[in-house]
């Protein structure tokens, strides 16, 4: 415990460096603005910011990205509350009571509650991360290739099974992501795979091209197809941001409970902010004496999902930093960014890159303080971005996507691929294929293959190595259960109704 505390102090010494403080501020600010734009969530925000981190020191780069992540979630809450148009899925639950509050002229109050609840949620998750991460790292040191392979399978299946769309489509998206990940030269044998003899494909397809294509560019296409326009939207005045003592007392319980719940949900692969916020909301609705006023502007209905989604963000860093395995599309993009910066997260990261590990944890805390101290007072001003003409915004997002992709390798082929993946992303959106499993498949595909091959090399080609190792076996069983549980539940319910 003391060791963690002194390490955190070391992290603070890194995060409080003036340049890193500046990056946290920029990250939180940019994340808030991007997250506020309907359709553009943390994944797009992170992907759009990656080019800025190219030349940065990894700890500064990840500090900036953590700020963007938090900011994007908070920005999503802002558009949920003000427009009933959640920028991200994780803030949908916030709109249930946040928007009715805004319609009652209490938008300022709802935004303040969102900021305070996010702050507490974020803080509790940082404490949780600080306590759990070192323990998990110690366990994960004993993981070999079979365990890692099984863990990655579990990460993928969990994301697929928890996405609200079809299981088959989720699996197709994940496998397609893996197919993209293996394009290029196989590093173990030097063999070319799916390069079509093109020099541009030898190094594979960069994840940033795919992430910006299937998320940001596809979102531009979707907005064009929907004919989204903000001309007719008239927002009420934001109103006072102040909370009374009684209101603070009223939200204290829901914020505390939802923060703890959100953190543990975030740690689980596949769950994350969306499920955390919905569970936080429904838990408070059930507990509250005035549960029937939820959905009509109850302040607890804003506080609970906000605390939970921010705590889940912190929780999702646990598997990323300690196991090197992302549990969600967003942390997959973060992992991609880290790999670009030359940092491989995993159980040894605390030893090899303590500056990155503890710097990020400390910066998450500072990011929360920034969210509260800077974003809240400026929110009426920042909210003006929602009034910006949609045509200009769309054209601007396009330029940001393209400069991000071009700035990576200065190769026009990447721009063409951006378009290809933008169109693929559009088709996926049109026909209900979730994009997060694809990004996760893309990031994990190559790592999975490497683990699989290493494991089989150890066993001399004997596939039973994956079930001989108890941890690997359990992880695979859980993965299988996560995929089959929804169907089994349906069958069980059918059988019960038939019997009745």
């Amino acid at each position: 415990m003391f060791e963690s505390f002194s390490s955190l102090m070391y992290g603070f010494s890194i995060a409080l460096d003036p340049i890193n403080l500046f990056y946290v501020f920029i990250g939180v600010f940019a994340g808030t603005i991007i997250g506020m734009l309907p359709g553009l969530g943390p994944i797009s925000a992170l992907a759009l910011m990656i080019p800025i981190t190219f030349s940065m020191d990894p700890s500064s780069g990840l500090i900036l990205m953590a700020g963007v992540y938090y900011g994007a979630i908070f920005g999503g809450s802002t558009s949920s509350i003000l427009l009933n148009a959640p920028g991200v899925a994780g803030t949908v639950a916030t709109s249930f009571d946040g928007y009715p509050m805004a319609r009652q002229g209490k938008a300022g109050k709802a935004l303040a509650i969102a900021a305070y609840a996010s702050f507490v949620g974020g803080t509790i998750s940082v404490i949780g991360l600080m306590l759990i991460a070192p323990l998990l790292s110690k366990v994960a040191v004993s993981f070999g290739p079979p365990e890692y392979f099984a863990l990655m399978i579990l990460g993928l299946t969990a994301v697929v099974s928890l996405s609200d769309k079809s299981l088959v489509k989720g699996l197709i998206a994940a496998v397609f992501g893996m197919m993209v990940s293996i394009v290029g030269i196989d590093l173990q044998t030097g063999t070319e795979r799916y390069t079509f003899n093109s020099l541009n494909m030898l190094d594979g397809i960069d994840f940033l091209v795919v992430a910006l294509g299937v998320f940001a560019l596809a979102e531009v296409f979707v907005m064009l197809l929907r004919g989204d326009d903000n001309k007719g939207e008239k927002r009420k005045a934001i109103g006072s941001l102040k909370l009374s003592g009684a209101e603070v007392k009223e939200i204290a319980g829901p914020v505390g409970r939802s923060s703890v719940l959100g953190f543990f949900i975030g740690v689980l692969p596949g769950a994350g902010a969306t499920i955390g916020s919905f569970l936080g909301y429904s838990m408070e609705k059930r507990i509250a004496k005035d549960g029937d006023t939820f959905g009509k502007g109850n302040i607890k209905g804003v506080a609970a999902p906000e605390a939970a989604n921010n705590a889940a963000c912190g929780g999702s860093f646990v598997p990323l930093l300690t196991l090197g395995v992302p549990g969600s599309g967003t942390t997959a993009v973060l992992l991609g960014a880290l790999l670009v910066m030359g940092v491989t997260p995993g159980p040894m990261m605390m030893e090899t890159r303590p500056d990155v590990f503890w710097g990020v944890i400390a910066s998450m805390y500072i990011g929360n303080v920034f969210l509260l101290a800077l974003n809240l007072p400026f929110i009426p001003l920042i909210a003006k971005i929602l009034d910006a003409p949609r045509p200009l915004l769309l054209a601007m997002i396009l330029i940001f996507c393209m400069v991000g992709v071009y700035g990576m390798n200065f190769n026009i082929f990447d721009l063409v691929m951006l378009l290809v993946f933008g169109l693929i992303g559009l088709v996926m959106r049109l026909y209900g294929f979730p994009a997060a499993p694809m990004i996760l498949g893309l990031i994990l595909g190559a790592l999975m293959e490497e683990s699989m091959r290493r494991a089989l090399q150890i066993s001399g080609g004997d596939w039973s190595i994956f079930i001989d190792k108890p941890i690997s076996l359990w992880l695979l069983v859980i993965a299988l259960l996560s995929l089959t549980a929804p169907s089994l539940k349906k069958l069980y319910q059918k059988a019960r109704t038939a019997r009745a």
Partner: protein, 158 residues
């Protein structure tokens, strides 16, 4: 006769894709030194998985399309219909890809952003021009001077 739904169309396309993918996986050369798992194993597994999943998809109940295309007021061919906007934007991205190096980042980006905003229906030309130049120039100077990412100057002297 039952009409084929969009899941079935996609399943057929994916099935064909997986067959081509698998055929290509079988063409991957064997590594001279024998190893338990060669470069072709993972692609073969992935191709087979997509083939299997496409069969499942074929028999899955198709839901509604998840996005409603806003086609009101666009009867017949319209250059500004939402579908056409996607096509024009795609052509714009392609044109940008081929013009960024000869024209330079500032000029190519300004042209694309300004023209697309007009095409999407933004009529305040002066605001459009000022915003476009403000954003593109800020982006250019941040990337080239602060971040150290070299963007092509093209025909402009800076």
């Amino acid at each position: 006769m039952t009409r084929i739904n969009h899941n079935q169309v996609l399943a057929v396309i994916l099935g064909l894709f997986s067959i081509v993918y698998l055929w290509m996986a079988f063409q991957i050369p064997t590594f001279p030194i024998p190893r338990p798992v060669d470069s072709d194993a993972f692609p073969k597994a992935l191709g087979s998985a997509i083939l299997l999943l496409s069969i499942f998809l074929f028999f899955e109940k198709a839901g509604e399309k998840t996005i409603e295309v806003e086609d009101k007021g666009h009867v017949g061919f319209s250059f500004t219909s939402p579908r056409m906007q996607v096509v024009v934007t795609s052509v714009g991205v392609l044109a940008y890809a081929f013009l960024i190096e000869p024209l330079g980042f500032v000029l190519a980006s300004s042209l694309l952003m300004f023209l697309l905003a007009i095409y999407y229906g933004y009529r305040a030309w002066l605001t459009n021009l000022a915003t476009t130049l403000g954003i593109v120039l800020s982006l250019y100077f941040v990337m080239t001077r602060a971040v150290g990412v070299h963007l092509p100057p093209g025909i402009l002297p800076f």
